[in-house]
């Protein structure tokens, strides 16, 4: 019996690795054809992509930083997914996180705090703000039965517009208007609240967010797989009636799971602001929340899956931006390629699952 099982398991593991790779390669190949169809010389486009994605220390750092933000949202996504909840609100949670981190850095006195507290406190504020935004959706689900897909999506739009309002109003976070040309964005946050670089002088924009995110990956993996709480989330997600009968606090689990998902979004916002951008702009997050949602979906509940797909999307984004800037490939093509990857990976997942059933 067990011999049969293990013999069966072997090719399945293989499939689990090569099928997704095949899916990505297929999507990229179709993407290449599309690029060629727009009249851009393929070698030029490829060179621009490679240059932007991993052509220099800076490029690699930027790609990884993108992967960090996307991956954190994805990490939160799979926590909520354990409880069968779908967090579509990453974009709004990022926005709230960005607002909180900016406010804390500029006006919350964080920069006067000693040592690491100067940049930790804004991160904490961002995490809490994101958690609150997520918890709202959870509470609405528990109290009124509101579907969290809809509530998180709508809360996302609200978050984006709250961000917009914050950077438009001097009473809030907009920098003082000195001329009519003053941009609708915040002041730059003080140096002390910037996230410390990992390599001081080198031109690699990697910061402490990277080790933090890796640590959180490990924490999430342990929590969802090896704690009572993680098991409760699974039970609540798989069968709420049985979970309730077993005396589990269903409402608490749902609110907490959504709050955790939101917290990761908020933290992603803090990393983006304090790691790279340093000023809060209306278009502070250009869809990282939604990319994170996709990463979470593709990961299919596994932390390793989040890491892999977040890196894929981070590099893809960096390369795509450079392809647009240097080789004049329409940015829409990059979005199309992302979409293709999602479709082919979903197909691969289906295939893997069918293989498992047989």
């Amino acid at each position: 019996m067990s011999a049969i099982a293990s013999r069966r398991a072997l090719p399945r593991i293989d499939r689990g690795v090569w099928l997704p790779l095949l899916a990505v390669v297929t999507a990229l190949a179709i993407g290449a054809l599309l690029v060629a169809a727009t009249g851009v010389a393929l070698p030029d486009a490829a060179a621009a992509f490679a240059d932007g994605a991993w052509g220099s220390g800076y490029a690699i750092g930027a790609s990884i930083n993108r992967a960090l933000a996307i991956g954190l949202v994805g990490l939160g996504f799979i926590v909520a997914q354990r409880a069968n909840l779908t967090n579509v609100g990453g974009e709004g949670q990022i926005a709230l996180g960005g607002i909180a981190a900016t406010a804390m850095s500029l006006y919350g006195g964080a920069s006067h705090l000693a040592g690491p507290l100067a940049f930790v406190m804004p991160m904490l504020a961002a995490t809490l703000a994101g958690a609150a935004w997520g918890a709202i959706a959870g509470a609405m689900k528990v109290r009124f039965g509101t579907n969290e897909v809809i509530s998180t999506l709508l809360l996302s739009f609200i978050g984006i517009w709250v961000l917009y309002g914050c950077v438009q109003s001097e009473a809030l976070l907009r920098q003082p208007m000195t001329t009519s040309a003053t941009l609708p964005e915040s002041l730059e946050i003080p140096e002390a609240t910037h996230l410390p670089r990992l390599w001081g002088e080198a031109d690699v924009p990697l910061h402490v967010g990277l080790p933090l995110a890796l640590l959180l990956c490990a924490v999430v993996a342990v929590v969802i797989n090896r704690t009572v709480f993680g098991t409760m989330l699974r039970a609540v997600g798989a069968n709420p009636d049985a979970a309730r009968r077993a005396g589990m606090p269903i409402g608490g689990c749902i609110v907490l799971a959504m709050a955790i998902a939101g917290a990761f979004g908020g933290l992603a916002g803090a990393l983006m602001l304090q790691g790279e951008q340093w000023t809060l702009k209306a278009r502070f997050s250009s869809g990282y929340g939604f990319d994170g949602l996709v990463v979470g979906l593709l990961a299919r509940g596994s932390v390793k899956g989040v890491i892999a797909s977040a890196l894929l999307f981070g590099f893809l984004r960096s390369g795509g931006i450079n392809m647009e800037l240097v080789a004049n490939v329409p940015s829409a093509i990059v979005v199309v390629i992302q979409g293709l990857i999602i479709v082919t990976l979903a197909a691969a997942a289906l295939w893997i699952e069918r293989g498992a059933v047989r």
Binding site: R226, A238, D241, A242, R244, A246
Partner: protein
């Protein structure tokens, strides 16, 4: 030859099953099945099944749960296609691509779960999918009346399905089939949901249908029905034909032996009751009842469950519980009898804390549990075996170990983590104690057989800390005889140690064999309460039908 005893287990795989005898009247078989085989994944549901359905006969398909009876019906009706073998209907190959084909061929089937739209009237349901263009309700009503007359299927054509009893709904399903003037009528476990009187009426209908020239395939695991109505019977076990009989009433004992691999005389009372053989069950119930009452509760036995004036309305405002009052003492089993849907589910839901009643009293010992959540109920020492074990009793996708301790996972917390090694070890011990068979404690719950799932739920609920009351709702539904005996064995032993048990079941025979006292529910009310003696059967039956005795 009356019975072809095919000893299973000894047979080599290749041994051909002898061709079944043709129908007695010499006209040849209506439907011949030859060498049918059907697999679902690793499970072989049917293995080399051959049998003939003669014209105008009532052919009983017997077998325990999982024997392959429903699968066989689904092959005949075109729901599934066989992997191997062939079917011949009236001399022509029968290969239905779906139920639609089977219907066109004159085969009609009543499934275990009815397919009626509850908001529509009887006539509208009958017209569904059959009428073209303008609905001719009057003509349809006339046809219903004619059929009802012919077969004794009394039904009001204008009634809404929602207002009908389960038995009446079944009649509508049968009329739906008969309106197509079928050659073959397949009834899958039709008696499971019926009152004793209704069963008798249904069997009479079957006889008339057969007399009218239509063959009837009657699927059942109750022997009494076979005894009463079957012209011939075929016994399935683990997907194979293990016995056939041309005179089932005479071959009863041999059929039972083939079905459950044991002699009836060696069976416990519970198994006899589960099989529903009248004679056996009554005798067994008398025995068991007497045995049960030898552990008479001491006069001083304390009241454990104390329920009074419990009132609840369902979502539509209809009374679901109508001033229900119950008392169960230490070491006592109180049975709740009644046709399903008369408030038993609601009662169990309220007592387990899953729903809150409008008013009343609910106490267990010194704990006031009215309106309290499930956690408080468990804390008070109440174990619950829920009616729907898949929806409430377990998390099917999670491992057996987690399910065995679903309500006390926090006991396995160590350094903030779930100590799975301890969990698995305790689960293994629990599996041994309650004879839960699985490939291991890590096996997903949904992969266990029904009997083992139920034993696992029972294992969890009987080990609730400070257990003093067990509420078991339909604990043997869908289980085979062996599992029924095991489940009741555990409950009875716990009871002997002083546990109070509230046993809700629609199987009166089981209640008579198991309980000290029986209360009967009808439309949310307790119609009456009496000792669980076989000679009270008539009174209980009257209460179940809503007649105050």
């Amino acid at each position: 030859m009356s019975i072809e005893a095919v000893a299973p287990g000894t047979g080599s795989h290749a041994r051909p099953v002898a061709a079944p005898p043709a129908g007695g009247d010499g006209t040849g078989a209506l439907l011949s099945l030859r060498g049918l085989r059907k697999r679902f994944g690793a499970l072989v549901a049917l293995d080399d099944v051959s049998l003939d359905i003669a014209r105008s006969e009532i052919h009983c398909l017997l077998g325990e749960n999982g024997a392959g009876k429903s699968t066989l019906c689904n092959l005949i009706f075109g729901v599934h296609a066989p992997d191997a073998g062939e079917m011949v209907l009236d001399g022509r190959p029968h290969r239905p691509g779906g139920p639609r084909d089977a219907l066109a061929q004159g085969i009609a089937m009543v499934h275990q779960h009815f397919s009626l739209v509850s908001d529509l009237t009887v006539v509208d349901n009958l017209l569904l999918g059959q009428a073209r263009g303008v609905l001719d309700r009057a003509a349809c009503a006339q046809r219903v009346a004619a059929l009802a007359d012919e077969y004794g299927l009394a039904i009001a054509p204008r009634a809404r399905i929602a207002d009908l009893s389960v038995g009446e709904r079944q009649r509508v399903e049968i009329i739906k089939c008969l309106m197509r003037s079928p050659r073959l009528l397949v009834l899958d476990e039709p008696t499971a949901v019926l009152l004793p009187d209704e069963i008798r009426a249904l069997l009479a209908v079957c006889e008339r249908v057969a007399a009218g020239g239509c063959s009837v395939v009657l699927v059942t695991h109750k022997l009494a029905e076979v005894e009463r109505a079957a012209h011939r019977a075929t016994v399935l076990r683990l997907g194979r034909v293990v016995a056939r009989s041309d005179a089932p009433a005479r071959d009863m004992r041999a059929l039972v032996r083939a079905m459950i691999q044991r002699d009836l005389s060696g069976l416990g009372a519970m198994a006899g009751a589960a099989l529903g053989t009248d004679a056996v069950a009554t005798a067994a119930a008398a025995d068991a009842g007497a045995a049960a009452r030898t552990i008479t509760r001491r006069p001083s036995a304390a009241v454990v469950l104390d329920v009074e004036d419990l009132v609840m309305h369902d979502a539509g405002g209809v009374v679901a519980l109508d001033h229900v009052g119950l008392a169960v003492h230490e070491g006592e089993i109180l049975g709740i009898a009644g046709v399903e849907g008369n408030g038993q589910s609601e009662l169990a839901a309220v007592l387990s804390g899953m729903t809150v009643a409008a008013s009343g009293r609910y106490r267990v010992g010194a704990h006031d549990l009215f309106g309290r959540p499930p956690k408080a109920v468990t804390r008070a020492g109440v174990g619950v075996v829920p009616e729907d074990r898949h929806r409430v009793g377990c998390v099917p996708t999670m491992p057996l170990a987690e399910n065995l301790f679903l309500d006390r996972l926090h006991e396995f917390r160590r350094f903030g983590l779930l100590d799975r090694r301890a969990l698995l070890a305790k689960a293994a011990a629990s599996m041994r104690e309650f004879d839960v068979r699985a490939s291991g404690a890590d096996q997903p719950f949904e992969r266990l057989s029904g009997g083992n799932q139920q034993k696992a739920v029972l294992a969890r609920e009987l080990t609730v800390p400070g257990l003093r009351l067990l509420i078991a709702a339909q604990p043997t539904r869908g289980l085979d005889v062996g599992a029924v005996e095991a489940v009741y064995g555990y409950i009875r032993r716990a009871c002997e140690r002083g546990l109070a048990v509230l046993l809700i079941s629609s199987e009166l025979d089981e209640l008579l064999a198991m309980c000290h006292r029986i209360a009967v529910m009808y439309r949310g009310r307790i119609m009456g309460e009496c000792d669980a003696r076989p000679d009270e059967r008539a009174r209980i039956g009257a209460w179940m039908a809503g007649h105050a005795a």
